[in-house]
Symmetry: C2
Subunit: 337 residues, 2 copies
């Protein structure tokens, strides 16, 4: 089942996409082509296509501006910058992780080459900064600061993720830290940056950032559960993909470090050289469940969602904006993508 995309996301897209397209149009033809493919606007030969992501982060940025009583259009500019950082990170992560598929299509680096994909990611990251600093309204310098810090966090999280691949002693705490940086920081930024851009009050900006950080972790937990038990048709990834890649995702680390008897069995399976067979993968999924990884992740996601809700309740904003925020977060954490 694919739940209906929230109305606030659809509405935001109409504001954000023109900003994004105008920004990408400034790039040189070589990186623009890779960027347009990666963003889902074009196929490999450059013909117009429509494979874009759901653009949930920009929608959060638009709501963030509205929460502060500000202009949605300014939120859309901030949201476009966040989406450019998100796109850059996916483009580079796919290269670093050797992932060949992104949103049901070949990853950009497999189509255009690794060097071209590195360069296009660089271009998107640089463009994100430009989109903010070229605005004259004073709140955008603050927005650029918020986005800069989040980008640094995102990069720190990816650094931990790379380091974890070479270690077999990753603790659950470290794994949560990695997710907080890699996913939470940019989601927190998306939720706070619009309010910052329109000059919203500091307590609102803080509450929105805290809301986004918790929602980001809930989303990551949901995503990690899908990486084991999601359907390939919906996720665009092979079945049991995180197990196949022996990825140290949250449910897997929770299982490995939880002390249940199944954990030792799972660790032996993961330590075995060579690729895991389909039967091994099914066994591994069962062991994660037996060792409590699935329960832990589901409970933790619920706690994070509750915490997000409390931060949202603390933040003063029009009730329709609050409802739209909740819609998006439930969509992010509940959907079977």
């Amino acid at each position: 089942m694919t739940p209906v995309v929230p109305a606030a996301v659809e509405a935001a897209r109409g504001l954000v996409e023109p900003v994004l397209r105008e920004a990408v149009a400034r790039l040189d033809p070589i990186t623009a082509r890779v960027a347009a493919y990666h963003l889902g606007w074009a196929d490999a030969s450059g013909r117009a296509a429509s494979h874009g992501g759901k653009a949930l982060r920009p929608a959060l940025a638009v709501l963030s501006a509205r929460a502060a009583g500000g202009d949605a259009a300014r939120g859309a500019v901030a949201g476009a910058a966040v989406e450019l950082v998100h796109a850059f990170s996916l483009l580079h992560d796919d290269i670093m992780d050797g992932d060949r598929t992104r949103r049901h299509r070949p990853a950009a680096w497999t189509v255009f080459g690794e060097a071209e994909a590195i360069l296009a990611g660089d271009a998107l990251l640089a463009l994100a900064g430009e989109v903010l600093v070229e605005q004259d309204a004073p709140g955008f310098v603050g927005a650029a600061r918020v986005l800069g810090r989040a980008t640094r966090g995102l990069i720190a999280g990816q650094g931990l993720d790379l380091a974890f691949e070479r270690r077999d002693d990753v603790s659950l705490e470290e794994c949560l830290e990695m997710s907080a940086r890699k996913t939470g920081d940019l989601l927190a930024c998306a939720c706070a940056v619009g309010a910052t851009a329109v000059g919203g009050p500091a307590p609102l900006v803080s509450a929105l950032a805290a809301f986004g950080a918790e929602a980001g972790l809930a989303f990551q937990l949901a995503d990690d559960l899908l990486g084991i038990w999601g359907s390939p048709a919906a996720t665009g990834k092979p079945v049991l993909s995180d197990l196949r890649a022996r990825k140290k995702s949250l449910p897997i680390v929770a299982a490995l470090t939880g002390g249940a008897p199944a954990a030792a069995h799972l660790a032996r399976l993961f330590a075995r050289p060579g690729p895991l067979s389909e039967e091994d993968l099914r066994t591994a999924a069962r062991l994660v469940e037996e060792a409590g990884g699935r329960d832990w992740a589901e409970t933790e996601a619920k706690h994070r969602l509750d915490a997000a809700g409390r931060h949202l309740a603390d933040a003063g904003m029009p009730s329709d904006v609050r409802a739209d925020f909740l819609d998006i977060v439930l969509f992010l954490t509940g959907r079977d993508r």
Copy 2:
């Protein structure tokens, strides 16, 4: 012979390096380690070392602030941001181009891995923006705009460079465009960004940018000449390295497209599959010279240097600052690195 580093460069380093070190210290330990190695501050194991570049671009940024009658310390902040973009671009270019050596040391990606080096480059690029937007003085938003445009140009130039590798019909005009973007844009930025940061007048900023753009091309021409006829001890690259890599550098493209009889011979040599022997390389260097590539590049570099000098003369500034600018440019274009 290694000419003496200009005094203005030494003086600027004392202002710029603390800003750079403070910025890099904010990075997570994983990317900070790669960055410190790449910047020459640490060896592969993380021990303090001293292999830094000459930091000519930050010195130009400091002079740029002084040209506008501004505070050298503000120029140093702008210069640190330019140096971070320069460092990012070298880090990623080495990966894209497969270059294994940088400043007489193994390139960072060969030491820490490709993924880690991609990520560290991302971190340096993001940090460059942060360093500027976190400043409260109003000129820094302008500086961030100038640096953003230059970064976009630099990336466009690298895109052309990558594309040229797959083509054997590159015109001299295209090759000049590539160098103007890849080298000229960031040098123009370095020369203009300090004046922008201290709120200098637009005509001064424009003249400084024009000076830097011409100086950048002169530097690239000098660098391309060294890529063929420079000594490995001084350049840190193998002898005849650009010919070995069949790089479409300016003297080589000038030779190939100049219509001299030697051009056809050179083109046949370049079109031959497999690596070129040492004798082939010496023959190729002779053919570039016979086909007029060396003369053209030397003359063109002189013209660019003259043009740079005219732009500098047009820009009103204290005479000691002008003298320092000239010193650095002559060092950049004349030294046998």
